[in-house]
């Protein structure tokens, strides 16, 4: 039997009806990873032994009386940025190549409580610094639709794994586009939560005022289920929000009568591929059919988003990556002559170019004499962006626009271009700076503007749906309505 590309809702039903066991399902995906992942490089570590043991436990639970948790027995993959107790966690970096966390991140713990089955840890841009997985110390992952193209990043291993049907869903994280952009480029559905909706505890930190752990799957309905499970206050992350977690999946509604959707004109940027624009405008027509009222809106400060991010993110990175000292864990230099040399050489050997570049950018803009001109100024412009979104959400319920200006670019474009990510993620970054929840869902295919692709239909285009803070239900409803009317989310690559 073929289990690839089935939704979580479908897998739940098969497990509950005993049409398949968790062990069978787990073996199926492990086998698929073994056969296919040498071409896609989506996993850094595959946890076969633990997975089979956990699947057996899940089967025992399913056989016993009582209701099964939604994820019980369902395999998943986790971005290698989530700490997993006793399982190597690298952040796709050399400096953490041998790191075995002594504890689980809060999200991993919640998934264990559900008795879900971890298949392995997925590749990412080193420390999540990048938008292509090309900064990974373990080589880039490949796009499921065209192996010569990037899967996006930083959560590109997760999007490649789900897009290739190697895992029914995957954990991902976003700081400024790292869930939406790879979901868009791989043709899957991704949820970037409101900042603080999901606990950051135990996730290797990048930009602490932005980092948002989320998920990638095949449908918005699945994401709504995952959001219910992953969200909530955590005493171990004081920035988690106090708003109650709603029953997103139960309350999901495809009726958009009375819903106002804003189309921000600044998100149709110069240089955007024509096919992308076209597909997104078609999607807007579908949403109108579902009853939504479409309103043109303007967010003039959008253009400053990437500039603010280019200061705020490296600043927080330089602070967060200060902890890698070659003393408590991670890579250490073989023969440092004094303490300072242990620090400077361990970090020189352990960090890749992108991490070094960002740490140094952050160090510079935070240093004495420059702090006010760069960091403080950027955080003030960030306020303009926050205020502008707050204003627009007085007029509309959600915003709809493209997730990325283009379909998946070819491998190699990101290398040594220090601005690649800031431009690739320009449609995701402003919302991330304002802590807003968002989805990227497939809305068709378009031909790339940078050469040919063997994919017959072209490459996936992503529709972005952005909501107000803690407005998860609103974005799920709009995404769900769209997926009731179209079947782009059920199109998968020929593999």
């Amino acid at each position: 039997m073929d289990f690839a590309f089935l939704t979580l809702t479908e897998l739940r039903e098969k497990l509950d009806k005993k049409e398949v066991s968790s062990v069978e399902l787990t073996k199926y995906f492990l086998e698929r990873i073994k056969n296919l992942d040498k071409d896609y490089n989506s996993f850094v570590t595959v946890t076969e032994e633990e997975a089979l043991k956990n699947a057996k436990d899940a089967d025992d639970f399913i056989s016993s009386p009582g209701e099964n948790p939604f994820l019980c027995g369902i395999p998943y993959a986790a971005k290698d940025l989530f700490c997993t107790k006793g399982i190597r966690t690298t952040a796709s970096s050399k400096i953490l190549d041998n790191y075995i966390p002594p504890y689980d991140s809060t999200v991993i713990k919640k998934l264990k409580d559900q008795k879900s089955v971890l298949l392995g840890k997925t590749n990412l841009d080193q420390f999540a610094h990048g938008s292509s997985t090309e900064t990974s110390a373990y080589g880039p992952s490949k796009n499921p639709w065209d192996k010569n193209r990037i899967p996006g990043g930083s959560s590109g291993g997760s999007s490649a794994a789900v897009g290739t049907g190697l895992s029914p869903w995957a954990l991902a994280t976003e700081t400024g586009g790292s869930i939406r952009q790879p979901s868009s480029l791989c043709g899957i559905s991704g949820w970037k939560p409101t900042y603080g909706r999901v606990s950051r505890y135990g996730i290797i930190a990048m930009g602490s005022s932005l980092d948002s752990p989320g998920a990638m799957a095949y449908s918005v309905e699945d994401l709504a289920h995952l959001a219910e499970i992953m969200s909530g206050r955590d005493e171990r992350d004081s920035t988690t929000g106090h708003a109650p977690v709603e029953e997103y999946a139960k309350k999901i509604s495809a009726d958009l009568h009375g819903v106002k959707i804003g189309i921000p004109k600044e998100y149709f940027v110069e240089g955007m591929e024509e096919g992308v624009r076209h597909r997104v405008m078609e999607a807007v027509k579908e949403l109108k059919k579902a009853g939504a009222e479409i309103v043109d809106v303007s967010l003039p400060n959008t253009k400053y988003g990437s500039l603010v991010y280019a200061i705020v993110a490296p600043s927080e990175i330089s602070s967060n990556l200060g902890r890698y000292d070659g003393i408590r864990y991670g890579h250490t230099v073989a023969n440092g002559k004094d303490l300072m040399e242990v620090y400077t050489k361990s970090r020189a050997e352990g960090f890749g170019d992108e991490a070094k570049r960002r740490i140094m950018t952050g160090t510079y803009v935070l240093s004495a004499g420059y702090y006010d001109a760069y960091y403080k100024k950027a955080q003030k412009v960030r306020r303009l962006i926050v205020n502008e979104f707050a204003e627009v959400f007085k007029q509309v319920d959600v915003l709809v626009c493209p997730s990325t200006p283009n379909v998946a670019p070819k491998l190699g474009k990101a290398a040594d271009d220090p601005l690649f990510g800031y431009i690739a993620d320009q449609l995701n970054i402003p919302g991330a700076l304002a802590g807003l929840p968002a989805l990227s869902i497939p809305c068709g295919f378009a031909r790339p503007s940078d050469g040919e692709t063997p994919s017959m239909d072209g490459l996936p285009v992503g529709l972005q749906i952005i909501g107000p803070q803690f407005g998860e239900q609103k974005i799920f409803n709009v995404g769900f309505a769209y997926q009731q009317l179209t079947d782009w989310h059920r199109k998968h690559p020929q593999i």
């Binding site: 900042y195 970090r347 510079y364 240093s367 003030k380 412009v381 306020r383 803070q469």
Partner: protein, 93 residues
């Protein structure tokens, strides 16, 4: 454009040793990033408060209570060098 001396100074503050070739490369790349953000300086931000916590939380507190942690060995097992249950570092003075 940043000078080579500035790049070396930054790398020292960041505790990352650079080769001469890296100094030259990062001199160009860091300058590219700094040029890129230059436009922000022109934005009028008079009277605006910086964003420090985006969802508006203030002073989140919790009860101060003792919990047992029994994973010392696992934690120390990650260190390159330990002695008698402590991290071992090079002499500082």
């Amino acid at each position: 454009m940043l000078t080579k001396e500035e790049v070396v100074k930054i790398s020292q503050l960041a505790r990352i040793q650079l080769t001469d070739a890296e100094v030259e490369k990062f001199q160009k790349q860091l300058s590219t990033v700094l040029d890129y953000v230059e436009e922000l300086k022109k934005v009028d931000t008079n009277g605006l408060e910086e964003v420090s916590q985006v969802t508006g939380l203030v002073n989140v507190q919790r009860e101060d209570r003792i919990e047992v942690a029994d994973n010392h060995e696992q934690i120390l097992s990650q260190a390159p060098e330990i002695k008698d249950g402590y991290y071992k570092v090079k002499a500082i003075l």
